[in-house]
Symmetry: C2
Subunit: 231 residues, 2 copies
């Protein structure tokens, strides 16, 4: 009986947390992090403020948790895209990188407020709830990095500064279990930062006001990366 009681309580807790997050996501989509209010969520859920604070100690904690959930969701979408594609589909090199980039863009366009929370606010950087946010934040990078690395190293043969080489090696040993050489690691990291640059501007409407198709810009950047490598 005690076991059943605990299970019911745990079920209630899971359901409450899920409901709170749904309300929080709706508020975030409505007006960004500034629109999120624990008291407003409590009113919408018809529970007392103290009842809600049992699940999240502060709006900061809730925003950090939403950002971490966002990283997990984006990571899942990219992993699925990577798994579903080969490095060469129909004999064309770079098919996996294109598939991952397209999935990245699709996810960001579907979740602009969450993306902004993750990558353009202090809630996504691990200043808030670091134990949950930092590990989650690494997950979406991996499918991008891996899709670039399997294309082989850059063909240009530009040599990197020694300090950067050491930093990239150290980062790889801690966060990315890949034996890619530093030149490839750099290209992989820049593939990811280029996607962020384009998609971060796209969700603010920049390319609509320029009259330029953001999808074509993403394709062009991925083309450049693919063309600069040789497997």
């Amino acid at each position: 009986m005690v076991q059943v009681e605990v299970t019911r309580r745990e079920q209630l807790r899971v359901q409450m947390v899920s409901d709170i997050k749904q309300h929080a996501l709706a508020q975030l989509a409505e007006g960004g992090p500034e629109a999120l209010s624990l008291n407003a969520i409590a009113r919408a859920m018809r529970v007392s403020g103290p009842a809600l604070y049992r699940y999240f100690a502060s709006r900061e904690d809730l925003l950090g948790e939403l950002a971490a959930d966002g990283y997990d969701s984006l990571g899942e979408a990219l992993e699925a895209a990577a798994d579903g594609a080969d490095v060469r589909d129909d004999g064309v090199r770079g098919a996996r990188l294109r598939a991952v980039a397209a999935a990245y863009r699709g996810w960001v366009l579907a979740h602009p407020h969450l993306y902004r929370l993750m990558f353009a606010s202090r809630y996504g950087s691990g200043l808030v709830a670091p134990d949950r946010v930092v590990p989650a934040s690494r997950r979406p990078m991996i499918p991008v990095l891996t899709a670039v690395a399997e294309l082989g190293g850059p063909t240009s043969g530009r040599s990197l500064p020694d300090a950067l080489v050491a930093q990239l090696k150290d980062w790889q040993s801690r966060s990315w279990s890949s034996t890619a050489p530093p030149e490839t690691a750099l290209l992989a990291v820049t593939a990811w930062t280029r996607l962020h640059g384009l998609l971060g501007l796209e969700i603010e409407g920049v390319f609509v006001s320029m009259g330029v198709d953001a999808g074509a810009l993403v394709d062009a950047e991925m083309d450049q990366i693919i063309a600069s490598t040789s497997a």
Copy 2:
């Protein structure tokens, strides 16, 4: 006498607007757009709410105005860097692009909250106060675009989709008075989006937690652009 009265009133107005913006910038630096409150500014300035609302109808207007000021300030910094450098300093190609990129990074690191307001919020995209924000937002792009264009076109000879070529030409004719061919225009736009990708992530602390020097990543991206062009 009437002339003098008008001038004094105008002086007062300019001073009030300047004071309001100083307080607003301090609030923005403290906690982002969500921290900005016209009533708090009025209290800090020891004026009534209605007195303050004569200058800015809403916090939205004030945030739009701050974003536009930010574009002007960034634009000025980049123009000064571009004017102070030659395309070849000490015989090295790309000196102007490097100088503009370094100035871009310096400005962003000095004004992270303002940069976030400009490029990662709805206040900077022209949804708010478009007449003021949209023209201002074009200004910082121009020195970056110009520094890339004078390096000549990309050497790779990749052909662009017809639709993208048409979009780039149309955008150039409206916003960037340059005769650069579409391939060069694309490279220039991506130079700008790559800077945004790197610097937007840098101000969130991403490269500190990766242990990688963001300045070296910026250099590497500019190197790639310079190496891919021929003047």
